[in-house]
């Protein structure tokens, strides 16, 4: 009986540690994978975010060639971090379309001038409605879409240099 008492604190602590460990292993979901991976992109038609680039519709994502669709915003810091990697991907021959989230034309233009412009088309999603329809919960996020307009891969968060092979492979597989 006495012995049990002495080890009780350790048991309680173990329980506590278990709860916290559980919290670490199952972090509050800040990123949720889209259920749309493997299905056709939802229909949308977005106006141009900046005058220099045309807008974006779902038809532009099904032209027979795989593309990378990047959700970004001028007010998003990780997007700045991601910009050079996207440039690198463009140099590899990847076609990148973008959707600017809750953004203004002048801000987008400044962002492109400062951080580089790897984009072919940029649609403006002022209400983030299209973003939600893609099952994306934040920016930056990127989707690999095959020539038929089917989402093949989702990348949540900024694409870092070490993620490049993964993205390139997904694009190749989508061919």
């Amino acid at each position: 009986m006495r012995k049990v008492f002495l080890w009780l604190p350790l048991a309680v602590f173990g329980l506590l540690l278990g709860v916290m460990g559980h919290g670490i292993l199952n972090p509050e979901q800040t990123t949720i994978p889209s259920k749309l991976v493997g299905t056709k992109v939802p229909a949308f038609n977005l106006p141009a975010a900046v005058p220099s680039h045309p807008g974006l519709t779902n038809a532009d994502l099904a032209t027979g060639k795989p593309v990378l669709l990047n959700f970004f915003a001028s007010w998003c810091l990780p997007c700045i971090a991601e910009a050079p990697v996207l440039e690198e991907l463009k140099r590899e021959g990847v076609v990148i379309h973008a959707i600017a989230i809750r953004d203004k034309p002048e801000d987008v233009a400044r962002f492109l001038a400062e951080h580089g412009d790897p984009y072919a088309r940029i649609g403006s999603d002022v209400s983030s409605r299209v973003q939600i329809s893609f099952g994306s919960s934040g920016v930056p996020e990127s989707f690999v879409i095959d020539g038929k307009g089917v989402i093949r891969h989702q990348h949540i968060g900024d694409i870092q240099p070490q993620d490049m092979p993964k993205i390139l492979k997904a694009l190749k597989d989508a061919q």
Partner: protein
Amino acid sequence: MIAEIGLGLLWLAAGLAVVQAFLGMAGLRQPDRPDLGGAVRPVAVAQAVLVVAAFCCLIYLFIVSDMSVKLVAANSHSDKPMLYKVSGAWGNHEGSMLLWVTVLAMAGAGIAVAERRVRRDTLIATLMAQGLLALGFYAFLLLSSNPFERLNRAPQDGQGLNPLLQDPGLAFHPPTLYFGYVGMSVAFSFAVGALVTRDVGPAFARAMRPWVLGAWIMLTLGITAGSYWAYYELGWGGWWFWDPVENASLMPWLAATALLHSVTVLATRDSLRAWTVMLSVVAFSMSMVGTFLVRSGVLTSVHAFAVDPQRGSFLLALMLLYIGGALALFGLRIGTVREGALFEPVSREAALVLNNLFLTVILGVVLIGTLYPIVAQGFGQQVSIGPPYFNPAAGSVALLLVIAMVAGPLMRWRSDGMKAVLRRMAAPVILGVVALVGIKVLAPDIGTLPWLGLAVAILAAAGSIAPLWKRNLARTPLFTWGMVIAHLGVAVALAGMAVDSAFYKERLVAVDEGDTTDVGPFSVRLVSVEPIIGPNWTALEGRVEARRGDGAPFLLTPQARNYSAPPTDTSEAAISTRLDGQLYVVLGKQGQDGRWQLRLWWKPLVTFIWLGGAMIAIGGALSLVGRLWRERRSPRGGASA
């Protein structure tokens, strides 16, 4: 270059921590080799010197804005005012961890140099535990959060510090809490040392007490300052949100408060041996849990911190090692520690046991409530736990605790008569009952918790000063004054909380420039709203004129600020402090019809909350000085009342 020097110093200090731990172990194994144990002290001092130098390197890097260092680039900006450049050094995870080990090592050096009360082997064991503890944190720093990491390519300028954190109060708030956490780690080292040598007695308690007291003062100040910061910075008019980050600082405080009282029982009466050791482990583990909650990001909080689950795992591993190890040692050793002195059910010891039990219950309630969202998530539910849970659950026990707090100092050590105690308690209790009835008569709609809270506060205010009754005040020892002031501070803070919760007035209105509105006893007029520019922000500033009755008008200037780096909107409340409370004004949005939203609060006696917090800390400080003074004069550590 400086960054590399800093990193080198840190590695050297980590090496010395290893040496310190090994020398300690060797010294304990071979008591016939006094040179081994004796060498621990200078090593502890050298380790402190090295890590302090490393910390200075980091501060220097922030002062000169060396953007090639990742930490500086991520947290500083060359236009930032100097104060925030310096505080930027610890306003982030890596820097604050470095601050942690720096203070830890300084505390170790302090023990090595100044501690003469405990047995020699216990001191060596304590320093050994300290070395091991420091080692874990060095590993954490060097392996997963190197503050001196360089960037391949230096950016043009840094990212800036979260604007919410650009505040003079906050430059000093986190270090205050960290000093508290580290103080708890010293208490922990002492407890481990005493368990290793089975030397759990009054000498050990007296050696540990100043550290516990110091840590507790720092935690008290940190919580008080944090509460005030949230009050004026978040612009929500509240002073405690039961946010995980706030709870993270409250839980160690609760454990430290319990420890502070039980360590006094051990030092004075040689009772509660096992319990005191247990509490020092609990208090330190709560500091670790607090750091874990703040840094791991397992819980979302209104307080923005850079979080990283990997660091959380590392902290968890450290906890497993240290707390698990200490509790295992407890299970193995405490059975062989002799029973302390006995006491009667009616005695000061018993009152302090009661105090400890109530504190433990509150701690349990807060801990469970804070962690519950993690458990619920395991069952697939998203929940948030807020004031509706914490207020009644923790508040009701806190009121009982305050009553026990009043009774304790009015009882004699070892054994006392129930009748005599009741006689001494009579005046405060009568006052409390009169208050209970009086408040209900004057304010029939008052909520239950504020009502009881206010009555208990009045009881406690009277009861706190009762120990001075019929005493020669000039000859009353300083630590008794400290206790009285701290207990009175609890009553004052409680009164502030109760009065504010019961009688605050809130108005939310839309007004044109020139319109007048009322809140509580004040009439408030929005004179104009103008754009203004600050060093790294722009804002809309409302010019609001308030007056009470026919009194002189005074001006308040709430702002809606927009920071440029990183882009963030904040609202700066304007607060005017009166003798009997604060007028709190927040400028909201402009509606389509051109009217401005104004949010106004009249918060009676709200200042008492932080005044009480400050009194508790001051009481603690007087007590600390008083104890150290007394022990200096009688190093054999005579009995203290």
